[in-house]
């Protein structure tokens, strides 16, 4: 009997105009946007390799160790096609420097040629599912019970020896299968499209991630279908049920996520936190300066630290400073004979300063991390939690967790960058770079960078993504369960 009911529900939906329209519009939107997004991804990939080349060239230009200007670039995530998340927004270029530990807000978007283009809103495939299919789910559900009640078919069905629970279950299964058809069809189209281009290469893990996104999508759709079913069971009039469904949709999908982001601002004065962090960093620098003075007092070196009182006919140098990192680089391509006795002292100076800078970098990184945690990161997590009160946002965040474009995915990259910086510091130590003549002078040959460690970044494995997505997934399931139970209770009590 249950099977008959399911088949009947399924066939009714399948032959309805709304199902036809849903399939057409989802396919159209998904395919059109996939083509556009694929091109966008290719452009980003091209930019990425351009930047990489530029970074590599910069390394070769450095003649001394101190002149090394090393940067790494974050590769675009191929799954940003599905969920853009933070992948397209956050800065992609990180500078690697022994004297400062990079944190997430240090990334700069140097590959962006026109920042005005940020004015235009971004799109991804998850957004299409989020908006279109939730609307379709409500349209499938609003008259599921109220419509049958109005037309009298409900009375007819109940007069048969079937339990009410089975009727409800049959309606649910029939509609969900119909809703999943456009999802799977459009996914198939996207996969065909992806396999026809060579720029995107997906491995087995990526397919599992996509599978995770599809799973989340189906649970999300089920939430909206059950919301519609609940409204349908409680109102008993299709017109009322329809209007409630539509306005609830507007509130949950369109309004609430944006509303919560701008109305509820985290209280607390972040300026105080920032200024106290600045003070702490200032103290660390004072400590460094003091030790530098102590060193210089005991050494025959005089004059500006960049050149001292050396006899340097030809040199080039750079220096740049922000409050959390001070950078100097010097390359003396010629060194007068008279200054030869001073060279060991200069070497000793740079060895001392190198160690000091590395130490202060770790200390400053600690302060900066605490500041970030208590300001920007805290704010972001709070906003995320508030937004997650709407199932639509919950779905977006869970999909981003699967794709690895969420905040944690970005932190993975920053961690890799920090690890790379440590590798570089170790490399410098191995080569005894800080205390060598090649730190500041290239008169006896430039540094050969052939064995400089290369940066490499692998996205986390799919199980890590799954654990990150799990809380959202469970929450969605829980909402499902609660909604189904409540609908069931209402349906049992309904008078026919």
């Amino acid at each position: 009997m249950l099977r008959t009911l399911i088949r009947q529900e399924f066939l009714t939906h399948l032959m309805s105009a709304r199902f036809f329209a849903a399939v057409i519009i989802t396919l159209l939107l998904v395919v059109a946007n996939a083509v556009v997004l694929l091109e966008d991804y290719e452009r980003r990939l091209m930019k990425y390799s351009q930047q990489e080349n530029a970074h590599r060239q910069k390394v070769q230009e450095a003649k001394t160790y101190s002149m090394l200007k090393l940067s790494v670039e974050r590769p675009p995530n191929p799954l940003s096609l599905f969920s853009a998340g933070l992948d397209k927004r956050l800065g992609t270029t990180f500078e690697i420097y022994y004297g400062s530990v990079p944190i997430i807000s240090d990334g700069s978007a140097r590959s962006l040629d026109n920042t005005f283009l940020n004015l235009f809103s971004k799109i991804d495939l998850v957004l299409i599912f989020q908006v279109v299919l939730s609307l379709m789910a409500l349209l499938f559900a609003y008259d599921a019970i109220a419509g049958d009640w109005e037309s009298g078919t409900l009375r007819l069905v109940i007069s048969h020896p079937v339990r009410r629970g089975s009727i409800l279950f049959a309606k649910y299964i029939g509609a969900m299968v119909c809703l999943l058809i456009p999802v799977l069809m459009s996914l198939l189209m996207v996969l065909i499209l992806l396999s026809s281009t060579s720029s995107i290469q997906l491995d087995g893990e990526d397919f599992l991630r996509i599978g995770g996104i599809v799973l989340t999508t189906s649970i999300y759709l089920s939430v909206f279908y059950l919301i519609g079913l609940l409204i349908s069971a409680t109102t008993r009039r299709t017109a009322t049920s329809l209007m409630l469904c539509m306005f609830l949709w507007v509130a949950l999908v369109l309004v609430y996520p944006n509303w919560s982001r701008f109305t509820i601002t985290p209280v607390g004065d972040t300026r105080a936190i920032h200024s106290s962090a600045d003070q702490q960093i200032e103290q660390i620098w004072e400590e460094v300066d003091r030790e530098e003075r102590v060193f210089l007092a005991n050494s025959p070196l005089e004059g500006e630290p960049q050149k001292f009182n050396l006899d340097v006919p030809s040199s080039n140098s750079f220096s740049s400073g922000r409050h959390f990192s001070k950078r100097h680089g010097v390359n003396m391509s010629l060194l007068g004979k008279r200054s030869e006795p001073l060279v060991p002292h200069v070497q000793q100076y740079h060895a001392t300063m190198g160690a000091l800078y590395i130490r202060s970098a770790e200390q400053i990184a600690l302060v900066r991390k605490q500041t970030l945690d208590s300001t920007a990161l805290w704010e972001s997590i709070r906003h995320e939690r508030l937004m997650k009160l709407s199932p639509a946002s919950l779905y977006t965040f869970t999909a981003a967790a699967w794709a690895g474009t969420d905040l944690e995915g970005m932190f993975d990259f920053v961690q890799a960058v920090q690890g790379y910086r440590r590798t570089i510091v170790d490399y410098f130590h191995d080569k005894d770079a800080f205390g060598s003549r090649k730190w500041f002078a290239s008169d006896r040959g430039a540094v050969d960078w052939w064995d400089l460690p290369q940066f490499h970044f692998d996205r986390t494995d799919v199980w890590e993504n799954a654990t990150r997505a799990l809380p959202g997934l469970l929450l969605l399931l829980l909402i499902n369960l609660a909604l189904f139970t409540v609908t069931f209770l209402f349906f049992i009590k309904i008078e026919v």
Binding site: I25, I104, S105, D113, M243, F247, N258, A376, H383
Partner: protein, 508 residues
């Protein structure tokens, strides 16, 4: 008769659930918008006035004409619009001020030369470091583009197909009413029903906003508000027309609802962002930052080399047979004292500044400023061209048209930024002219602009220095909005006549 139909439609709608829900959701959003504005706007205005006072004081402290040329007019700030609650216009993505470019100095044969001020357009990219999840601002643009399109569809999807199903349409047309009159009656009735809650919410919004003394709306602002309401009505009318058209063409109301909602989703929600991403494909290219820097370096190297060659020719003519730097170095190895003496003499000739040297320096500085500003301007123009192209492409969606029209009306957004840049350019020209004229008025000055010794040494009266004040002029913004307004009216005409044609041909 038509009045009768409108009245009946109105009463029908006002008693319905959807009307109540519309009132609730529109009022809630409008009040939110007002409250957020009250919180954010005073900060914005205070910030702006603090910044311009600081900038003006800095300018006053420069009493020397040369200091004015070297440091320029200071930071030039964009005035925040008092109607920012209507359209945010991507405020965070547009620079709020224009500040000095970095300065340089060279020393060498001709003595020291220091750069003069040049116009440097900054860029802002808050996204690069913003960890918070993306969301759209809830301004009037959001409310109008999304809700004033969605709600008309909910009011019209069963307007004709529902009545046809019930048979009331046949009854109605059995009376001596022509179809156009019936359609117009339904159109106006629905439009008025939609606009009543909207106007109510707008009044609520303005009431909350007028509580606060920071936002004072002038007469021109009220004029703009009127136009904004007109735009909103026009936009809602487009969707009422669309709803009637689809409703007249389908037999069942639920089919017409599905069709309408899908059209809405595609046209209003997805088209602006899809087209925005798509348009990058046909965009005119912009130099990358590296290319731009290389081009600038090459152009500057040329004038620098030219300057060096001419300067050494001048020096050579004045005091021939001085040793060059490398010769001096060799001399130093053999007899340091002789080398010191020669170096002293060399420095002496380097630092003397006759008219010839001053002219060369002034030329170098002028060339430097011209090249930098020209290249900056070219890059900016290329970027603007890209944005204009993307805006032209996104105009295929009525939601984008309304957004641009409202931004122009509210004095925010990209067009407003262009207007601000125009003001900055005018001011820069005026400022430079002021320097030249003041210098010309002093007969003792040798008239070499940009070099300390070449300019008038008389103190400049701080009142005479031209001050920058950014203005939001109504006429300018109106001109940019005309195209969007025309497009909207055109679309309205298309959809209403479309509904008319479909309805005339449909069977009852």
């Amino acid at each position: 008769m038509i009045w009768h139909i409108i009245k009946r439609e109105l009463f029908d709608h006002i008693n319905s659930l959807r009307f109540i829900l519309t009132v609730v959701i529109l009022s809630a959003l409008m009040v939110t918008n007002a409250v957020v504005h009250l919180r954010a706007h005073p900060k914005r205005v205070r910030n702006y006035s603090e910044k311009i006072t600081k900038s003006a004081n800095e300018l006053k402290s420069r009493s020397e004409l040369y200091a004015l040329a070297r440091k320029g007019p200071g930071d030039l700030y964009k005035r925040p619009s008092s109607l920012a609650f209507i359209a945010d216009g991507g405020d965070a993505y547009l620079p709020k001020n224009i500040s000095n470019g970095e300065s340089w100095s060279i020393s060498g044969q001709g003595g020291e030369v220091k750069s003069n001020w040049w116009l440097n357009y900054g860029t802002v990219n808050p996204d690069a470091t913003d960890l918070t999840p993306y969301a759209t601002k809830i301004d009037w643009v959001f409310i109008i583009t999304y809700l004033l399109s969605f709600i008309p569809l909910l009011f019209t999807f069963d307007a004709l197909s529902g009545e046809r199903e019930q048979g009331t349409l046949r009854l109605c047309l059995a009376n001596p009413i022509s179809r156009p009159v019936l359609l117009i009656g339904k159109f106006l009735g629905t439009l008025i029903t939609v606009l009543i809650p909207f106007v109510f919410a707008v009044l609520l919004n303005l009431a909350v906003i007028s509580v606060d003394s920071w936002t004072q709306l002038s007469v021109a602002d009220w004029g703009r508000l009127g136009l904004i309401l007109l735009i909103a009505a026009c936009y809602a009318g487009i969707f009422v027309g669309l709803g009637l058209m689809v409703s007249a063409g389908t037999r069942e109301p639920r089919v017409s609802l599905v069709v309408l909602l899908l059209i809405w989703v595609a046209g209003v929600i997805f088209m602006p962002s899809t087209l925005g991403t798509l348009s990058t494909k046909w965009m005119p290219p912009v130099q990358t930052m590296d290319q731009f820097r290389d081009a600038r370096k090459a152009a500057l190297k040329q004038i620098n080399d030219d300057y060096g060659a001419r300067m050494s020719a001048v020096k050579e003519k004045k005091s021939p047979n001085l040793p060059s730097l490398s010769e001096l170095q060799k001399l130093y190895e053999t007899s340091p004292e002789a080398a010191m003496a020669a170096a002293e003499k060399l420095r002496g000739t380097w630092e003397t500044e006759g008219d010839e040297e001053l002219a060369l320096k002034a030329e170098l500085i002028k060339g430097d400023v011209e090249i930098r500003e020209r290249l900056n301007r070219e890059r900016l123009d290329a970027q603007i061209a890209q944005v204009q192209r993307a805006r032209a492409v996104t105009r295929l969606s009525p939601a984008a048209i309304v957004q641009y029209a409202l931004e122009s009306m509210a004095g925010t957004g990209f067009n407003r930024h262009l207007q601000y840049l125009e003001h900055v350019h005018q001011h820069t020209k005026q400022f430079r002219q002021f320097i030249v004229e003041t210098d010309r008025a002093d007969i003792q000055s040798p008239h070499f602009i940009g070099v300390p010794k070449g300019m008038s040494q008389k103190p400049v009266a701080s009142e005479a220095i031209p001050k920058f004040e950014d203005k939001i002029a109504f006429s300018d913004t109106f001109n940019t909005a005309t195209l969007d307004l025309l497009l909207l009216v055109l679309l309205l005409g298309v959809f209403v006549s479309g509904a008319f044609l479909v309805f005339i041909r449909s069977e009852v």
